[in-house]
Point group: C2
Chain length 166, copies 2
């Protein structure tokens, strides 16, 4: 289980989708799950703490069952709460927590989807980093600083950690 966590706009999905592609190319039985995509399947999922937690727990459970059947899961979720991530870690045999540590200022400067501007204007509530906390990992297996590393370099770091590099 390669679990990417980080703020909205940190670059985690960009890196994670590339990792997924690279693993597929190498013939790994791999599944990519993404917080935004799952919210499209389950549009009623809200953004309060309890709704986020439930969403993550269910997602984590699904991922752990996939992992139990030999599937490598690449997951990209803001997953802002430490406790939710620890719940998923406990479910999984091998949990690699990858912290995409792009600082808030940089995510907000990029603001690819315009969400930070909307959150600052109060149009979006419970937005992680603005009016909802992001609890950074304390001992992640890997930390990626997207200011210092290119996407390719980040992908390489993850693949090295996964041991899938030939």
């Amino acid at each position: 289980m390669l679990w990417f966590t980080g703020l909205s706009g940190s670059g985690k999905s960009t890196i994670a989708t590339r990792v997924h592609e690279e693993l597929e190319k190498r013939g790994v039985n791999v599944e990519y799950i993404d917080g935004d995509a799952l919210r499209e399947v389950f549009p009623s999922t809200g953004f309060t703490r309890s709704e986020r937690e439930e969403h993550l727990r269910r997602t984590g459970y699904m991922a752990s069952r996939l992992a139990a059947h030999g599937v490598t899961v690449v997951a990209s979720f803001v997953s802002p709460y430490r406790e939710s991530r620890e719940f998923i870690r406990r479910l999984c045999g091998e949990f690699v927590e990858i912290y995409v540590a792009t600082p808030l200022e940089e995510c907000e400067r990029r603001d690819v989807k315009g969400l930070y501007a909307r959150a600052r204007r109060g149009e979006i509530k419970n937005f992680t980093g603005i009016d909802d906390p992001y609890e950074a990992p304390e001992n992640p297996e890997l930390t990626l600083d997207t200011r210092a590393l290119s996407v390719d370099q980040c992908v390489d770091r993850v693949l090295e950690r996964h041991g899938a590099r030939h």
Copy 2:
């Protein structure tokens, strides 16, 4: 995907766990998921229509992703709403709906867990068959009548349908 649906106490989990065991013995990559067991993992799951629907949609999604990776999923859920079951059918490549058609009177007579008595006393709300509807499948791939068939016979029928019989 072998999806067992039926009233509480209809015998679906008894048959489904036996099917799971038999498939495992035959070396099939199989996962068993059970409504009651999942509710223990996610205790906040309620019994209103919208909560049941969400629970089933999420479960169905998980099952479909397992199936996409070559896992045979044996699922035992009351799954009382036709629409929820159809949602799961659409997600899955191969969906075998198995209707454990034990009538309400017989389930209530058996009342293995004493739940019907409690529901009749009003101690449990939204209990399927009592004060919440069960929408029976219209065209299930298989219907099992547990009054006419033994558990062994039911298991055989399912395995025949799955094509795993040697």
